[in-house]
């Protein structure tokens, strides 16, 4: 990391990057990282407000300013690079449907009730992404700056998902059929589209991945809620959020220029 000033934007997932940065920031005195975040779907409304990026809703605006420590909206001129995290960029549509919708590329056509085209999956996934929060935020930032914007995939769910029966039911057939390739391929299609649109794409660090499509338990245990005042871990079976170790790993692996 050679960049001077990094702006991280995201939803609850910035918590991991924030925790990770806290662990390593002393080693990188030349770097400054500012975190802007919104809870739930609030960043869906991120907007250009008098040259700065912020939120119209008073409560959301307050949180957005407060969490950044700047007590202000995001002033794009102040940062050298932007890193976007979480915000639903995750192959939800693919993983959720795999068990019952086979395609020519999958190996589950005998067990699945339906057989549809790979294009239907790809269209569904891209439609979700292109109308989703991540791309909304990325595009809003792109409108005000030509600086690099890094889009990071939201981490795969924690391997602990197997403790949740209905989630296990979605993942088991993918593992049984060794069809992680189908997931990765669809993610690659999206990554390429994001690159085509002028964004840089960051994949989940390989060290953190379990059985190709999950995140190792050690990176999810003890993930923290975003609200700083709570200083509190997510509920035990939260399989979405990662901990500070995961954040540290990301800062180490990702090469932000």
């Amino acid at each position: 990391m050679k960049t001077k000033s990094i702006c991280v934007v995201g939803n609850s997932h910035i918590s991991a990057l924030k925790g990770g940065w806290d662990l390593i920031k002393d080693e990188h005195p030349q770097q400054q990282v500012t975190f802007f975040g919104g809870l739930k779907k609030s960043l869906m409304n991120l907007d250009n407000i008098d040259g700065k990026l912020g939120l119209h809703n008073a409560e959301d605006a307050e949180f957005f300013k407060k969490i950044s420590g700047t007590d202000d909206f995001l002033n794009p001129d102040q940062y050298d690079v932007f890193l976007l995290t979480g915000m639903g960029l995750y192959p939800n549509a693919i993983i959720n449907n795999y068990w019952n919708y086979a395609t020519p590329s999958t190996k589950n056509s005998v067990s699945a009730e339906y057989f549809i085209s790979d294009e239907a999956y790809a269209d569904m996934f891209w439609q979700e992404v292109s109308e989703g929060m991540m791309l909304h935020v990325a595009r809003i930032i792109r409108k005000v700056t030509k600086k690099n914007i890094y889009i990071s995939w939201q981490p795969f769910l924690s391997e602990q998902l197997f403790q949740i029966p209905w989630r296990a039911k979605l993942f088991e057939p993918i593992l049984i059929n060794d069809d992680y390739v189908f997931i990765h391929h669809n993610m690659q299609i999206i990554s390429q589209k994001l690159k085509d649109e002028g964004f840089d794409v960051l994949m989940q660090p390989a060290e953190s991945i379990f059985k190709k499509i999950m995140t190792k338990k050690c990176y999810s245990t003890g993930s923290m809620l975003l609200r700083p005042e709570f200083n509190q871990e997510h509920k035990e079976l939260d399989v979405f959020h990662m901990n500070a170790e995961y954040g540290r790993l990301c800062w180490q692996m990702w090469d932000l220029r």
């Binding site: 959720n96 009730e113 239907a120 269209d123 569904m124 439609q127």
Partner: protein
């Protein structure tokens, strides 16, 4: 002994009191149901474009419209519509002719295999019986057949399970595989395939052919079913996009629609459990002065559909909520429900317009 048999008829038997002095929004008694449809009845829908409106309105009124091939979870309404999910009870797309309906039933039960089932275009392969459901086709014919096999299982289940079958008669014009008489929903070369006059030919089904196919369909599925079926028929008011009959398209449309309307009248008389719902005349009759057509004089306005459905639902769901809350436009939770937008009707037939140069 009465003087004239017309003496004791009700007001709706006379044009002046039944039509001339009414407007299309106040016309009464145009439709009297033959039988009830309950909310728990399993309703299956099929037919030409216009049938999609009926399915949508019934779903909005919380009728039990069957869905055997729902869209994948999280698929947006737009994408679901693009891939023909949620349009009908199965993903067969539009079934324009009764010949195709009967053929599909036989295929679902394993008694028929279509000739030339896979059509190619630009190196991609399409299901000739429903080329529009996968707009990019598949990489191989085998994939098409795999998808079709899964589809037919669902069609079979639907045909066995349904309590009420809603079918909209759409066209008499079709393209067939000459030797086997396999019928297709689109002409070869429209969405996929290529027109070879040695293999394919034009077919304009006659009244008797349309009637017979539908009756054969009913008899055919009855053998396999163990409970009674009620049928609601309608005729699509939408004229042809194009005709291959060599007639002017206005005359060809008039002929086609007349044949279909005549068949429905006959069917209604033949079967006590078959009802005809007269949305066709309500939308096309001269007395509506064309107000229910869009400026292309072809598509039916949402107002026209709403008016037609109002009269249908006033018989089948008189207490129903007229304005059910519609799902928010973004983040569709259940895309199958939200898949059909009011003006977003799937019509492969309109693709013919691309050949109008």
């Amino acid at each position: 002994m009465s003087r004239s048999p017309y003496e004791n008829l009700c007001k709706n038997a006379f044009w002046r009191s039944g039509v001339s002095t009414k407007d299309p929004f106040s016309i009464e008694g145009l439709y009297r149901r033959k039988f009830k449809i309950l909310r728990k009845d399993r309703i299956a829908t099929a037919g030409s474009c216009f049938a999609q409106h009926i399915a949508r309105h019934l779903k909005e009124r919380k009728f039990n419209v069957l869905q055997y091939e729902a869209a994948p979870r999280g698929m947006s309404a737009d994408v679901a519509a693009k891939y023909s999910f949620g349009v009908y009870s199965c993903r067969y797309a539009n079934i324009y002719t009764t010949a195709q309906l009967y053929q599909l039933a036989r295929e679902a039960f394993g008694d028929f295999s279509p000739a030339e089932p896979v059509w190619e275009k630009d190196g991609r392969y399409y299901d000739a019986q429903r080329p529009s459901v996968e707009p990019y086709g598949y990489a191989s014919a085998k994939d098409v057949m795999t998808a079709r096999k899964k589809h037919l299982e669902k069609v079979k289940a639907m045909l066995l399970d349904m309590d009420v079958f809603v079918f909209t008669f759409g066209l008499t014009e079709a393209w067939i595989h000459t030797e086997s008489e396999t019928v297709y929903p689109t002409a070869p070369g429209t969405i996929a395939g290529s027109y070879d006059p040695e293999i394919y030919s034009f077919k304009n089904y006659s009244y008797n052919e349309v009637l017979k196919s539908f009756n054969k369909f009913l008899r055919y599925i009855r053998r396999a079913r163990n409970h009674r079926l009620r049928v609601i028929t309608t005729v699509s008011p939408v004229p042809l996009t194009a005709t291959a009959s060599s007639l002017h398209v206005l005359s060809a449309s008039s002929y086609s629609k007349s044949v279909l309307r005549a068949v429905c009248g006959s069917l209604e008389g033949q079967h006590s459990r078959l009802d005809y719902y007269p949305s066709y005349e309500l939308i096309t009759a001269g007395f509506t002065k064309g107000i229910f057509f869009e400026t292309n004089l072809r598509s039916v306005t949402s107002q026209g559909v709403a008016n037609a459905m109002r009269i249908f639902l006033s018989e089948h769901d008189p207490q129903g909520n007229e304005n059910p809350k519609s799902a928010p436009p973004n983040f569709p939770e259940n895309t199958t429900q939200g898949a059909m937008l009011e003006d977003d009707i799937q019509c492969e037939e309109i693709l013919l317009e691309a050949f109008n140069k």
